[in-house]
């Protein structure tokens, strides 16, 4: 899908894969949560390569939706120059492909620890705590928070690679660009 855009704007590229809806007990969902950490965190390879090393994009973001009726895993970028579109897509493809092979166990543990503390830091006030409980209630009950954490804790490097091989594949991929142009409607 390509969207021409009138006026000044940075070009955007989003890759989106259809993935299973959120289920606190589904090992593939937990693995994809960790894929979000591994690919898209501040210390992940996409920020390092696209932002820091090659300076191709201003920003890269995305991750796993936690919707209960169908979900997407997205990688979105805001490009410095639309002519770099192919290179940006190539790098994203390389890093997703790399996750088809089992990752280092230490790296996976750091991702797991980050996910846990990131969630804990959100629970420092009544409003976000209530939001988290409401989220859990819609996804299997209040104990869904703990159940999902247990499922995440059980993900092994090979299970993660297998989940990537099942879900982050071309048959599930949608590719969207937004390119600024004078000829846009």
């Amino acid at each position: 899908m390509a969207v021409p855009w009138p006026g000044a704007a940075a070009a955007r590229l989003t890759l989106a894969w259809r993935i299973p809806p959120h289920d606190p007990d589904d090992p593939d969902v937990a693995a994809l949560q960790l894929v979000e950490e591994l690919l898209l965190s501040d210390v992940g390879p996409l920020k390092r390569r696209l932002v820091d090393e090659e300076g191709l994009v201003y920003e890269v973001w995305g991750g796993r939706d936690s919707f209960v009726a169908g979900a997407l895993f997205t990688v979105s970028t805001m490009l410095r120059d639309p002519s770099h579109l192919d290179r940006v897509e190539q790098i994203i493809g390389e890093e997703v492909e790399a996750l088809h092979t089992a990752v280092d166990a230490g790296r996976l543990d750091r991702a797991r620890t980050h996910a846990r503390y990131d969630a804990l830091l959100e629970l420092d006030a009544p409003a976000p705590t209530a939001t988290a409980l409401g989220w859990a209630a819609r996804r299997g009950g209040v104990d869904a928070l703990d159940r999902f954490q247990a499922t995440v804790d059980a993900v092994t490097p090979q299970a993660l690679a297998d989940a990537v091989g099942r879900h982050l594949v071309d048959e599930h991929l949608v590719h969207a660009t937004l390119i600024p142009t004078e000829d846009a409607p």
């Binding site: 000044a8 704007a9 210390v43 820091d52 980050h114 996910a115 830091l121």
Partner: protein, 500 residues
């Protein structure tokens, strides 16, 4: 003007002489909010080194310096290494740059308190300013004030209003800088700015939550690395006096038009009238709430726009919430009214209606019912501003840095002593509908200028609905309302490149 800017930028420094012994020995001021039961530790600093510290020709340097604290290496870490070190803790260093203040914040679980203290103190007292990271951040700042600003006409309008109200003033450029100045900024300029501005007298640090005495002592020790030097003078001048109404249309490719209008306001949180105006603006245009008069008139009754709001002090929204961000208190303020984008056909009508509402507010004041309701609302709302210790600490730092009372405690106390007459009197003393600078951002600028300045009638266009009799009668009056903008006080400019 250019010669003046160069003269100021290149003026030789006058040797200030030796640093007074008392200043050299004084520690950084630290505010404590210890709670042994809290699992979290909040570390925050405010530094009097916001964008009003930028010298002419170096607009953007304060923000580039602040962002480099957390992105361009600190202590033993490169920028990437610092992120990697913090990563397992789930904590992120956060920076906010406003006109007067820079805020540096880090929240972490007490399991990682020592690591977080090291990261926080290193960023504040031992930044590395690695050149490749500084260059990347400079490019991002350039994008932010050029195409990035054009992507968000509402942010552009807000910055344009401030640039116009504070023309030739230290507040007169976006914190990110000017596109003509940013490219000349480099690592050396950043390092010099840091060396001059990040001294103990300019910094206030806060710590809250479940920390122990050892961590608290370690914080004091790390802060001694900041130079014990006097805070540099911060230039300030009066805002330009606003006379009558004037219009600036910034033309974009958008199909809609957003408005920001206002005037300088010589009043801060110390002023006895501050609480009165705060309450009045809650009635008139509470931010992102549906009970304000503006919201009711423009959105609820007529569907002209998603919302319209008004402010008695500078306002920065906290993330995606509707609450105010901390670190945005200023030495000088302004009144503003915001109309979110309106379809071009109805833009002139919407502006006339909003200004008519403002005139009525000042002329007739609040009703007793509105006054009572707003006071009750604010009694319940203020405690929601600081639901966690970190946010309470941020308000404490705002108060300390600005020399104003603690908003969380002071506003409720002042509200109890207010009367409706106090509020209506404050409106008449401070809000001046006849002296407004009006910024419009959107498409078809020349046609919009004509409708606002020259056309006798600009009726509302309803989509598939008909107003009741009373509303139709008022609409007819509003359509022919004269905004009183002299033609020579109305101009159209291209939005592209406006913050050169």
């Amino acid at each position: 003007m250019i010669a003046l800017m160069l003269a100021v930028a290149c003026a030789p420094k006058i040797d200030p002489g030796p640093i007074p012994a008392a200043v050299a020995a004084a520690p950084v001021r630290v505010i404590d909010l210890q709670d042994p039961d809290s699992p979290l530790v909040y570390l925050q600093a405010v530094i009097a080194a916001g964008s009003s510290s930028d010298r002419p020709g170096q607009e953007g340097l304060a923000a580039l310096t602040a962002n480099s604290l957390v992105e361009a290496g600190a202590g033993e870490w490169s920028g990437a290494e610092l992120r990697a070190a913090l990563y397992p803790s789930g904590a992120d260093l956060e920076v906010l740059v406003d006109r007067d203040l820079v805020s540096l914040r880090l929240t972490c679980h007490r399991d990682h308190a020592a690591l977080c203290l090291d990261a926080f103190a290193s960023a504040l007292t031992a930044p590395r300013f690695d050149a490749s990271d500084v260059d990347r951040l400079r490019d991002e700042a350039l994008y932010a004030v050029t195409d990035g600003m054009l992507e968000d006409i509402e942010a552009l309008g807000g910055e344009l209003l401030q640039a116009w109200l504070y023309e030739g003033h230290p507040y007169g450029h976006p914190p990110s800088g000017r596109a003509g100045a940013i490219p000349v900024l480099d690592r050396d300029a950043v390092a010099r700015f840091y060396s001059d501005r990040y001294v103990r007298e300019s910094v206030i640090v806060g710590i809250a939550g479940g920390y122990d005495d050892d961590l608290r002592a370690a914080l004091d020790a790390r802060l001694l690395a900041l130079p014990g030097a006097p805070a540099p003078d911060r230039v300030m001048m009066s805002a330009v006096a606003v006379d009558g109404r004037s219009l600036l249309v910034a033309e974009t490719a958008d199909a809609s038009v957003g408005f920001h209008l206002g005037h300088p306001l010589d009043l801060d949180r110390n002023d006895p009238d501050h609480a009165a105006l705060y309450l009045a603006m809650n009635v008139f245009g509470a931010h992102r709430e549906s009970h304000g008069r503006l919201y009711g008139s423009l959105r609820t009754a007529r569907g002209l726009t998603y919302g319209s709001y008004a402010y008695a002090e500078p306002f920065v929204q906290r993330g995606w919430s509707s609450l105010p961000e901390n670190g945005a208190v200023r030495r000088q303020g302004y009144f503003s009214l915001w109309i979110r984008p309106v379809a071009s056909d109805n833009a002139a009508f919407a502006l006339k209606l909003a200004i008519d509402e403002l005139e009525q507010l000042v002329d007739q004041g609040l009703t007793e019912g509105e006054f009572d309701d707003a006071r009750a609302y604010l009694r319940g709302w203020v405690p929601l501003l600081a639901q966690d210790l970190g946010r309470r600490l941020a308000f404490e730092l705002d108060a300390a840095a600005s020399g104003t009372p603690l908003f969380l405690d002071d506003l409720p106390a002042r509200l109890e002593a207010l009367t409706r007459e106090d509020v209506n009197g404050a409106l008449r003393r401070h809000i001046h509908p006849d002296t407004l600078r009006i910024v419009a951002v959107g498409g078809e600028g020349t046609a919009l200028r004509q409708r606002l300045v020259e056309d006798e009638s600009t009726p509302i266009v309803y989509a598939d609905v008909s107003p009741g009799e009373a509303q139709a009668a008022r609409d007819a009056e509003i359509a022919t309302k004269d905004l009183g903008i002299p033609p020579d006080h109305a101009r159209v400019v291209e939005a592209e490149g406006i913050f050169r």
